[in-house]
């Protein structure tokens, strides 16, 4: 009799627009935490600013709602100070791939063991629908005065290039599948990205639920829609790098897969590689006791309040 999904909810009013894809992500997150039976006080959800950025307040675990674009640096600081915490970063596509894309790329270089969720709605939701970095060139959702003049970033390809070691795409309205991916991402040893296609019914009238579901291209004979979303796993896709040798091949294949967009949109795990040392492992090479005695856990003073540090050696080096 463990924790239920609903135990991970706060009683706050969830103020997303009706029909927002964030509700799906929210449900998936609760399911995933319940499946993993994580203790709320050991979990920290770190978010940026945006509609998506409000997630921590709705979750009954520790929440750190940070600055626009700075989700990852805060998350890393928390994780490295106390690696026993389960740190989940979550933010918008503008947050993570616009103003925060520098951290997105740089975080890939570190392989810190955390999970990063991008709520990808192709717009800046909270500021009323401007183009986000994942909006394709030339598109004009209803909130834009003219077609988008910027090309889109491809988060999956970018993550592959930057060094993320677990890379997945989810679809917000497929809650079960999203939850499964989140469980895998949290369990992954290393830096995991789950980019979630998240319809924003209020501002993005192009990448809608109907569009993802292919309702715009119903088979005239069967009357069935032809969904854009499909599952990688169902195509026999094997994302796992098992030996260093096969990394190049697997990551190129994943890159190619990452370019699929529009008519067919694969969801699932694109790439997974646990052979790359995590940042914690890299630190432990010179600070062998890091895992047991990380910054937040060291004793820094004795009972009398005097510093725990022994200063003699330091002074000796400076002696004249």
């Amino acid at each position: 009799m463990g924790l239920k999904a609903s135990d991970y909810k706060t009683p706050l009013f969830v103020d997303w627009c009706p029909g927002c894809g964030n509700f799906g992500i929210y449900a998936a997150l609760q399911m995933a935490l319940a499946e993993l039976q994580l203790k709320p006080y050991e979990v920290v959800i770190v978010s940026g600013i945006g509609c998506s950025g409000k997630t921590p307040h709705f979750m009954n675990v520790n929440g750190v709602h940070t600055l626009h674009g700075r989700t990852l640096p805060f998350a890393i600081g928390i994780k490295l100070a106390n690696p026993s915490l389960e740190v989940i970063a979550a933010g918008g596509d503008g947050d993570g791939l616009g103003i925060g894309v520098g951290h997105f790329a740089s975080t890939g270089r570190r392989n810190v063991d955390l999970t990063y969720i991008i709520h990808d709605n192709a717009v800046y939701g909270l500021t009323k629908g401007q183009a986000s970095p994942t909006l394709q060139l030339g598109l004009q959702p209803k909130s834009l005065p003219k077609p988008n003049v910027n090309a889109a970033i491809n988060p999956i390809a970018m993550a592959l290039t930057a060094g993320y070691t677990f890379i997945a795409r989810a679809y917000a309205y497929d809650v079960r599948h999203t939850s499964d991916l989140l469980v895998q991402a949290i369990n992954h040893k290393g830096l995991a990205l789950v980019n979630i296609q998240q319809p924003c019914p209020t501002y993005n009238n192009i990448n809608t639920k109907d569009w993802y579901g292919g309702l715009d291209r119903v088979n005239p004979e069967t009357g069935n829609p032809n969904p854009r979303i499909y599952k990688l796993a169902e195509t026999g896709w094997d994302p796992v790098v098992r030996t260093a040798d096969e990394d190049l091949e697997k990551s190129l294949a994943a890159l190619k897969k990452a370019k699929e967009w529009g008519d067919k949109i694969p969801i699932g795990v694109f790439y997974k590689n646990e052979l790359i040392p995590t940042y914690q492992e890299r630190i432990s090479r010179t600070i062998p006791f890091y895992a047991t005695s990380p910054p937040a856990k060291q004793k820094i003073k004795d009972e009398s309040g005097s510093p725990a540090l022994v200063m003699e050696k330091w002074f000796k080096e400076l002696r004249v």
Partner: protein, 641 residues
Amino acid sequence: MTGKEFNWMIGGPQGSGIDTSANIFGRGFGYGGYHLYGKREYHSNVKGLHSYFHFRVSNKPVAANVNDVNLLAAFDAETIVRHIREVTPKGGIIIDKSDLNLAISEIRTLPSELMKLIMKNHGSKRTHKTIIDLIEEAKEKETRVYVVPFLDLLKEVGDEFGIEKLSRVTRMKNILALGTTFGLLNYDASLVEKAIGVVFREKPGVVKMNVSAFNKAYEYSKQNFDDDFPHKFKKLDIHEERIFLLGNQAVALGKVLGGCRIQTYYPITPAADESEFLEAHEVFKLQSGNGAILVIQTEDEIAAVNMASGAALAGARASTTTSGPGFSLMVEGLSWAGNNEVPIVITYYQRGAPSTGLPTRHGQDDLRFVIHSGHGEFPRIVLASGDMKECFFDAARAFNYAEKYQMPVIHLIDKAMANSTQSYKVFDLSQVKIDRGEIASRDDLQIGKYKRFRFTDSGISPRAFLGTKGALMWYTGDEHDEIGHISEEPLNRNQMMEKRMKKLVKAGEEIPSEEKFNFFGQEETKNIIISWGSTKGAILEAMELLRKEGFNLAFLQIRMIQPLPSNSIERILGQAEMKIAIEMNYSGQLAATITEKTGIFMDYFILKYNGRPMTTTEVYEALKKILRKNAEKRQVLIHGS
């Protein structure tokens, strides 16, 4: 005569070993019981542009440079050109024989504006075209000139160690300059050899070669210039234990002592040295077992400050360190930390600004920026240390302030401290205590009950760290309720603003005066100096000189600029007849801050903003003008090269 004080300058192109010679020089004298103060000047360049070290040695404590150069050791012609006029009458110059005939106009590293200026300064006769010309001029002022055949001596060393390529030994020019210097001073060579041994301790081969080179030059000097140079020094009989350290080392030491266990940084001059020192010493002994500081080089300063905040929320004492451009990038994060009552410490190494400014030069231009940085109103504590010792203790104490009052602390250092060395009696650590402030009690921690931002009388809400069993907490940069959830309600907003702001009042009330300011002199003194930061040494020394001449001055050194000890300042300045602000900036930033809080205006300003620290000499002169009532209200100091 046996000298009491000696000022040595060594100059040459960046990367030619100036620093090493200065280090050996200082240690050599340190081992002989002398007090030391030395500053480094260098261009924002890796190799080739001019750089120098200015050293002061004395049998009494010293805390600043003076204008004097008793002996100038020049690695190259440019050093002569730039500094020859600084050499005191009867002082000396050590010069490489091969530089003598160089034409000034051929020194390619001299900026054209400077070239013109020098030509002008040295007379329009256009006769001063070579180094010899400059030297002749100096000789007229009885300057001693010691021409040393550096290349010949280097060849000798090369031969001794079987090294054919001269280029592999030219680096030791710096040791030759030292050898010549100490020969002239007739100082105990073994003390310098010891220093060489310590400085190169990881490379025994190098030690040997350098000792040999040192001795060759030492002998050469004794043989050729013996007794000519008026300054002579011998070992003093002193048994005090002393350390000799840079400002950035002092900060690093203070931080680890104070419990800092995670430091984030993005490289920037002159802050990076501190982090690199910590990186090289990341594992250390604790009273029981080992400890470590995790030093993280981030992708930028934005990441640095926010990572530090994250770490602080998890319960680590966390810090980041930067200079002007980096701090500018941090202020959004600072505002978040202020709003969320996060105890981070930011060490801010000021340098010449605005923008990239004078990245390797000194300045105190950022005081008011720091006080007001970040959008919105939130409490922060701003400390400004005045010397390496204060750097050390303030660095440790900063974490107590941060955690007790749950707010960011900005610790202001400046380049003149960061890159200067000073000798001190070993610090007494008994005064250092660690106080982590109010931590949530078991009572606070019942699930569902803990309120991270609980309203209390003091404004301080007991803290729990992320991951504390039994506590859940929320943080947000939005205005929030006691639990940490977003709230836009007007009443809550008022209460939360007041909660945050009153902590600063409390800090101001509780922190003892001696941590907020130093007052030197008698309260009745009518002439009072106010200042902050690294000007301290020069001011105290200038005051002492003036005291001997019968001029009485007092000096109020402000160390905590936010919350400003306005009442004490008002009391002290209120009775003064002449109030003199001394600052290393254009506008007198501390003075303006004091006026804002007290309505008191300064009568005189002694300001400097040319990128070079104030010397005792020029502060003395400027003060004297004021005391003699023939000073302008605003004196701008310009010494330095």
